[in-house]
Amino acid sequence: MATPVPVLRLPKGPDPNSRGFDPNSPRFIALCRTSISSSAASDTNSEQLQKEQDARSVLREGFLRCLLSMTNKKVQFQMYENVKVEATFGASDIDVLNFQVSDLHTPIGVQKEALIRCQDVISFTFDV
């Protein structure tokens, strides 16, 4: 008799249609409690929803251009508990939950690569 082979059930991949913005996806529920969803379609009429979506794209584009211009620049992060750190900005994730930075200057030394949790950040600043 052939030896039974254990079946590996791979985790379900991300939903190809929503790219993480679907508020019902497991990833969103687990990670993005603070991310803001658009209004539910049932709450607003379609014209209002269209206007809201237009506004969302304009605002998001502006924000993404800001992140783009920040890449490889020195950024000063103002965090809670009066912590100020400086690092070279690398990238952000889609939900603005984590920032990838290099050369993070902390009070206890320089971290070559690090992930900063956006929840810990109050504000950050850089020169264009």
């Binding site: 803001i36 924000f63 800001c66 889609i94 603005v96 504000s123 264009v128």
Partner: protein, 169 residues
């Protein structure tokens, strides 16, 4: 003056603050002043810019915003112009048509040497039917909805640019 319902206000109300000079109160008594460039609809983070000796951008995270107050509802012409151009890439130097054509041919030949299907479509190059390269045909001028192809073509053109300038790869 808005209270800390800032993240709940929504894109339509955030839009009203665009291009206005505001003060943002955040965190532990921080107050930041600047022209509001954008509000991220995903995190409600506020992008402020101030023009002094240098153009300084400050982003206040949405979860930390306590209040946003409008100081000036409209910018003068010069400020409005500066606001529009803060995040735009610097204008590329104008090349004359002959140089542009030479550059386009050089890029096309390089791609063909690397066995990549490329066609000329007017002034632009069309790569594999999914990526467009506009003048002046640098890595930054590539546009495609396919991230993998975009990355590969950008790297390829980057190699050619480095070689031409004698820079290390």
């Amino acid at each position: 003056m808005m209270q800390c319902g800032w993240p709940l206000m929504g894109p339509l109300r955030w839009l009203h603050y665009l291009n206005k000079e505001v003060t943002v109160r955040a965190g532990k008594g921080e107050e930041h002043r600047g022209w509001l460039l954008s509000v991220d609809p995903v995190s409600a983070s506020v992008v402020l810019v101030s023009f002094g000796e240098a153009v300084v951008v400050r982003v206040v995270m949405g979860h930390a915003v306590e209040a946003v107050e409008v100081l000036r509802a409209a910018a003068d012409d010069e400020t409005a112009k500066s606001l529009r151009s803060v995040f735009l890439p610097p204008p590329s130097p104008c090349l004359d048509p002959k140089e542009l054509r030479q550059r386009r041919d050089a890029v096309r030949r390089w791609l063909q040497e690397n066995r990549i299907p490329v066609e000329e479509e007017g002034e632009e190059l069309k790569v594999a039917g999914v990526l467009t390269i506009a003048a002046p045909y640098s890595a930054h001028d590539c546009r495609s909805s396919n991230q993998i192809i975009l990355d590969r073509i950008q790297r390829l053109i980057g190699i050619q640019d480095c070689t031409n300038q004698g820079l290390p790869l």
